[in-house]
Symmetry: C2
Amino acid sequence: MSVFITQDTPVSDAVLNVIAHLPTPSLAATVSPAFFQKLSDADFMRMAVLLAQKGYDEGGCPIGGVVVDNVSRQILGKGHNTLVQENHPYNHGETSAIRDAGRIDFSKTTIFTTLSPCDVCATLIYMRQFARVVVGNVTSASGNEDLIRSKGIEVDILEDPVGIDLYSKYRSEKPEQDIEDWKGLAALHK
Amino acid sequence: MSVFITQDTPVSDAVLNVIAHLPTPSLAATVSPAFFQKLSDADFMRMAVLLAQKGYDEGGCPIGGVVVDNVSRQILGKGHNTLVQENHPYNHGETSAIRDAGRIDFSKTTIFTTLSPCDVCATLIYMRQFARVVVGNVTSASGNEDLIRSKGIEVDILEDPVGIDLYSKYRSEKPEQDIEDWKGLAALHK
């Protein structure tokens, strides 16, 4: 059976959204490897934003992440924050995508994240020795880019205005959920 | 229906092992709250070691964790490393127990861990503002106790010789799995 998304499929938010919603193990049966090879960094970041949108639509925190092989440009892992959906106190955009990727050699990969990494995600990124991190929003939060760079990891800022607007809207709608996600319930109870 | 494990049940490794294996949400229907109130810190650490033993028996890394309410002494979360079992690149003893606990206020809790926390777990412990950490093995690994203390969290060392022996045995049997668990596959490929 031939795959539905081929080298000739035009890149659009609609097709990136299908890929965002497909389980990672299903991509081999549904998308041509050649399609991924034509995607730009901005396209992968937009896919991470579409994962953030999925999280927002589920009532969660709109933060997404995608792990990509540096040579083949295939997606190895992806996901979004599931604080609300999984009752999960630290499944952020990055931890979610890394969990999805499983036991792989992350030193051959790039992680795209829609928001500047928190301390836990920044630490996981350097402990798993990623080659590169691309950050889609340092307008709403920032701080750990220099820490990650100090560990020898390339950090690029590639802001996505759709993702920044989505996060701003969410933060104004659910400020307490935003605080819990960053600092835990203890920060709200003080 | 009355619970099977009551205030009068003697504390033994056998009964702690039943509790270690029961899903956390099942404890309310199976164990009297009064039983937990008589458990010492060393008993909770032994339960974490029994979780580590469960992980070892499954072919995984023998590291366990238990999150306990500081007042009621009830178990709020527990788990063990699942690098192998869940193909999970950072589900350590601590991250596993914290995931199991879900969205709670960790500032009212203590986490018992059978092994000195790695950078990611230490960071998660201070970001979620635990009141106290009890570490069961600083003989095989250590380093982050001072970092955690510097964030205002109480750290106690309460070494469990059974857990230390188990970890030493595992490390000599599977040195590459041990390195992957700490540093990722990248460290093995270099």
